[in-house]
């Protein structure tokens, strides 16, 4: 089969014109057509690999559809064509089996190299464990400078913006209360795991995406080559608020990082609670309300009415008005098979005591009970 050059050229012109028009139109409107600006060497490699694929696919596309559209325009019955009768040609069929195979081998070689580099998580400078919870991330700096730092990181976009009662900010849904801070130019290894269901830790500018699987630890790594704030999201459907658990990584200079570490260490030592502090019911309730808003309201709602049956109401519930021990147990250890996670590992004795006190004395619940941090401590196994 011979391919007429003019047809191919006409089709190529047509196609490239159409693509150019789309691209210019979109670029003017400021729509993003490609990856986020890469911030690691590997992400740049992925960017280039993708462009290579686009070019190869583009050429094949123009070639194949050049031929097809030549037929569409020239071999019409309406222009009086009678059909040829050929229906096979072993040589041609062999050629178009072998050539694509060769193209694939050419494409696969650089991808293999990139993949091998990507999966090398050895000799990291800093190791951070990222734990997925419904619906927030917990971070533990477990090795390297900053070892021992731990914090929870959750969406900081106010509910009013989500519900359209306030104008949306610049980083709507991509902002958190505590950023993951890492130094520039250092290899950071991220261990991923999860507490409840599968999540995925995804930061596009680093070309990093790793599932966080409950009960297992997986790893990935990146070495950011410039400072800045990089935003990503959970990428594996993890329930109701899957769309509301972003990841924000702040890459800073080595000095700034050391300063941040010092600050965090100081915060951690201050936060170490005074177990002998004497709380009043109102003080505990007030602290409990803050803890509740942050950790419980997503499911049980600020009104305590929940979203039954998946997320039961606390207002008037048997657990929140019944025995303290049962209430404490479910908050500390969670309830298997439901979205109720164990908060024992996430919250301090005081936080748990406060939130229990709040739940037992809010809305219609008027038990008058006060749960003390010491009781929580005793209940931990």
């Amino acid at each position: 089969m011979c391919i007429k050059k003019t047809g191919v050229r006409a089709a190529a012109l047509w196609a490239s014109g159409a693509i150019l028009a789309t691209v210019t139109a979109s670029a003017q409107a400021g729509y993003q057509l490609n990856f986020q600006e890469p911030a690691t060497k590997l992400a740049r490699e992925v960017y280039d690999l993708h462009m290579m694929m686009m070019y190869i696919c583009g050429v094949i596309f123009v070639g194949v559809f050049g031929v097809m559209f030549y037929s569409v325009f020239k071999h019409r019955k309406s222009s009086g064509r009678t059909a040829a009768t050929f229906h096979e040609n072993t040589t041609v069929e062999l050629i178009w089996t072998i050539i694509p195979t060769i193209i694939l081998i050419v494409m696969v070689w650089p991808v293999t190299k990139a993949l091998i580099a990507m999966r090398d998580t050895s000799s990291a400078d800093i190791t951070i464990k990222a734990t997925g919870y419904q619906w927030k991330w917990g971070y533990d700096y477990i090795k390297g400078e900053g070892e021992g730092i731990k914090f929870m990181s959750m969406l900081s976009t106010p509910r009013e913006q989500v519900e359209g009662r306030a104008p949306k900010g610049e980083h709507y849904l991509l902002e958190v209360d505590n950023n993951v801070v890492v130094p520039v130019g250092k290899k950071i290894r991220i261990l991923t795991t999860a507490e409840d269901v599968i999540h995925a830790w995804y930061v596009p500018a680093f070309a990093v995406k790793q599932d966080a699987i409950p009960g297992f630890i997986r790893d990935t790594s990146f070495r950011a080559d410039r400072e800045g704030i990089f935003r990503g999201q959970c990428a594996e459907l993890c329930g109701k608020d899957h769309g509301f658990m972003p990841i924000v990584v702040e890459v800073v200079s080595a000095e700034k990082y050391s300063a941040w570490v010092a600050e965090q260490k100081a915060r951690l030592s201050v936060a170490a609670e005074d177990p002998n502090k004497v709380w009043s019911l109102d003080e505990l309730k007030q602290h409990g309300e803050a803890v509740y808003t942050k950790n419980c309201a997503a499911c049980h709602q600020a009104t305590g009415k929940g979203l039954p049956p998946a997320f039961p109401a606390l207002d008037g519930s048997k657990i929140a008005t019944g025995s303290k021990e049962v209430h404490l147990d479910i908050v500390l250890n969670g309830k298997a098979g439901t979205a109720m996670q164990s908060f024992g590992k996430q919250l301090s004795d005081t936080d748990i005591a406060a939130v229990l006190t709040y739940e037992r004395n809010s809305w219609g619940n008027k038990t008058g009970d006060m749960v003390l941090p010491a009781e929580v401590k005793a209940a931990r196994k």
Binding site: E93, M107, L115, V162, L173, G239, K240
Partner: protein
Amino acid sequence: MNIATAANGHVTAHDDHDHAPKGMMRWLTTTNHKDIGSMYLWFSFFMFLVGGCMALTIRSELFQPGLQIVRPEFFNQLTTLHGLIMVFGAIMPAFVGFANWMIPLQIGASDMAFGRMNNWSFWLLPPAALLLVASMFVPGGAAAAGWTLYPPLTIQQGMGMDMAIFAIHILGISSIMGSINIITTILNLRAPGMTLMKMPLFCWTWLITAYLIIAVMPILAGAVTMTLTDRHFGTHFFSAAGGGDPVLFQHIFWFFGHPEVYIVIIPGFGVVSQVISTFSRKPVFGYASMVYAIAAIGILSFTVWAHHMYTTGMPISAQLYFMYATMLIAVPTGVKIFNWTATMWRGSLSFETPMLFAIGFIFLFTLGGFSGLVLAMAAVDVQMQDTYYVVAHFHYTMVAGALFSAFAGLYYWLPKWTGHMYNEKMGQLHFWLSFVFFNMTFFVQHFLGIAGMPRRIPDYALQFTEFNQISTIGAFGFGLSQLLVVYNVISCMRSGEKAPAKPWEGAEGLEWEVPSPAPHHTWEVQPIIK
């Protein structure tokens, strides 16, 4: 194809007194492949509209950032049901409908091999669909873990999840029975002289598809049953706390799931091959290599499942293997595209609606193939996995692929089924509107995914707004365009121009030897193929 009919097996005198019961009982008790085929097609079209309404609700919510129309938990139910309904309720039954109608006509058989089982495999569908739709109204709502049903999220769900599991069981049984019927019919009831390599390609594609269904539906049934026992009977297949592994489910699911995507698309290959050949007035180029390519795709589909799971953290050796195996599928798929192009080359082309849909299929399915190649590259896939790029990719293969080929088949065989011509102008309008709005809906989703928008989220960051708005407008355009085909089919049945036995000049095959509409009983005496 060089099929010459020696004897027209149809007994004309028989039309006037088919012994079918009248009214509702005719449809409940029928064992006639044409009646059952029609019921499959109507059912799948209805489910297509149901699933489509869900898609439009999803797109409405995504029209702008923020939560406006549905709550996140309901949004997740919609994405889950949309997927399950479209795959198991719309596309698969549609092609079984085509198989029922066309395979006996094309191979010169008087009916399907197992008439009563055929009836049963259709009548299992409505209860399964009812379970899925009704699950939206039970406490806790429908399953909301995505159509892939990954645990441990599935363990947290309410009884809607159990209803989905039972629906999948029933749909699976129905598909398996349908497949047994198709395989038996094709292998045993061909007209004398019609060797396998003389069969129309549509029959070949269904033969291979039916084997795939029998191989993988039990695997899905196993996976969801394990979920069921994890939920209610204290097993820990998918829970690390009890020694299980959540990723095990993904392996089992995708061992079913990857052949499943070919189950959805391969019968479409058959339809498109025949339509392209008819309207090019030329035999299919490389018939034998088409058959081998489809068989190769079918076999390879069992060896690539974990390319859906590149980010689960499997060993690099496994990633490399699955990457290479996946790319291998591009070769037979490429062969098919080249063969279709060569079929058109130097033909005598005309562009009636079936041909438009077939060319639209090749054009857009190739784009879906390219994005599939990008996704196959594990290093690049890390960026794309679970983003809108994946959503765009599989809608190019499922909608522009499977659905467009089903429309090609619908317009192609509608005159044979109804005895009337459809409205050609309206058919062409349906194609062009579908084509434009489809691309408007899904092409921009590539950009969203590349820029980092995860899939299955009810709300998104501000930089994704513009493309989402374009996509939503496109989706409504696409949805409304489908009303044209509803109108066209109904008016064709009622008042279309009378169709001859062979309405398409270039058409070949036994189905055009019987009158239009095909009488209740055909090929009671088998034709002899020389």
